[in-house]
């Protein structure tokens, strides 16, 4: 499974066959701080992902002074 990470953009290969929350745990990512996108659709952390899936993990935290 290919996982595209943002800020900075990079890609990692990880095994599928498990729920997204386990993938995020392995990456050390808090599921409340990212959108997970598969095939152009949002998915929740409870969705199962396969070895052939491609995910985008997009951070939602913005910072700085506004």
């Amino acid at each position: 499974m290919k996982v595209k990470l943002r800020n900075p953009d990079r890609q990692v290969d990880l095994p599928g066959g498990r729920p997204i929350r386990e993938v995020l745990d392995e990456l050390g990512i808090d599921g409340d701080t990212v959108l997970v996108i598969r095939d152009g659709e949002l998915v929740t952390r409870h969705e199962q992902v396969g070895d052939d899936d491609e995910l985008e993990v997009r951070p939602v935290i913005s910072g700085g002074s506004r």
Binding site: D32, E41, L42, T44, V60, I61, G64, S65
Partner: protein
């Protein structure tokens, strides 16, 4: 997971409500929260002209989208900060959104209008880059709203922003700032009314809304934000939220219900800044002091003049005064 409303497949989980929603239902749930915020604080009405401060990010474009959808008279304002390609992409995103929605976008360039950009201010001033950026935005938004005769300025601050700011102000017991951390700051004496209609919605929700609405927002973060204090407070809140969903909402929305009345607001007396005429409590407003420092100029009334070599410390000493313009909000 199933949608709480229609039992269809869920795409957004809102853990603090122990709920999830599908892609068809979630935008309506989101919009209802914005309507609730506008109604509860009587932020603006159908006849008001709303100036929406848009950065090209998810929050401000989501806010503009909702307000347009609800039929409000909402004009966008983009402030060019001069942060290289990041600013170029942000500007492009706001222009593209405005074109697509047939909405009016106004653009102010900080360098053209005020003589400096944010990278320069970060290098030359005594304040942190984020602090001078926030100060510049508040000043420029207010100036543009006054100039355009708008009734209210709306910003895309979300629940995470507000909870993190409240945490920072509480850790420092900045009671003046705590007292004024309301989603509605009434207009007075040259300050246009300011509202934050997204304060009931988390960053995850605004990002999900923007995605589901097909808004092409800028995902990348400002390159100057690394190490920002606000981000550290957000991380701290997120660590608590991960094991206790709902803590952020209890902290900030609970503050609005039960905490804010405990913090008295001082009745600050305002007078015109001797340089620019905007309201302040001292001779010169915080913006003019910061600008004079960045430009290495001397503050005089009216205006900012070239400073002789022997007087170069004048602007710096003035910049150490209190920051009265920040009565209209501050991020820590």
């Amino acid at each position: 997971m199933r949608c709480k409303r229609c039992r269809g497949p869920a795409v957004v989980e809102v853990r603090r409500h122990n709920a999830a929603f599908c892609k068809e239902c979630f935008p309506g749930v989101f919009t209802e929260q914005v309507r609730k915020a506008i109604r509860r604080f009587e932020m603006f009405g159908r006849d008001d002209r709303v100036l929406v401060a848009v950065s090209g990010g998810k929050d401000s474009l989501a806010l503009w989208d909702v307000l347009l959808d609800l039929g409000y008279d909402a004009t966008g304002l983009y402030l060019g900060l001069g942060i290289g390609e990041y600013s170029d992409r942000s500007h492009d995103a706001t222009e593209a959104f405005a074109r697509e929605r047939g909405a009016e976008l106004r653009v102010v360039d900080l360098a053209d209008e005020y003589g400096y950009d944010i990278p320069t201010a970060g290098r030359e001033g005594s304040r942190s880059t984020c602090a001078v950026c926030g100060l510049s935005k508040r000043y420029a938004f207010n100036a543009a709203a006054l100039d355009g005769d708008f009734d209210v300025i709306a910003t895309g601050h979300n629940l995470d922003d507000e909870a993190a700011t409240l945490l920072g102000n509480t850790l420092r017991w900045n009671t003046d700032f705590i007292a004024r951390q309301s989603p509605l700051l009434p207009g007075r004496d040259g300050f246009v009314k300011k509202v934050k209609p997204l304060h009931r919605l988390s960053e995850l929700e605004t990002a999900a809304f923007a995605f589901l609405r097909g808004i092409d927002y800028v995902v990348e973060e400002c390159p100057l934000v690394a190490g920002n204090t606000q981000l550290r407070y957000k991380e701290a809140m997120n660590a608590i939220e991960a094991t206790s969903p709902g803590t952020k909402a209890q902290f900030f929305l609970g503050y609005l219900d039960r905490g804010m009345p405990l913090f008295a607001q001082d009745d600050v007396v305002l007078r015109p800044c001797e340089s620019c005429g905007h309201p302040t409590t001292g001779r010169f407003c915080a913006f003019c002091r910061a600008r004079a420092q960045v430009l290495d100029r001397r503050l005089e009334g009216p205006g900012i003049e070239e400073v002789p070599d022997e007087d170069r410390d004048v602007a710096r000493s003035l910049s150490d005064e209190v920051m009265p313009v920040e009565i209209y909000g501050r991020t820590t």
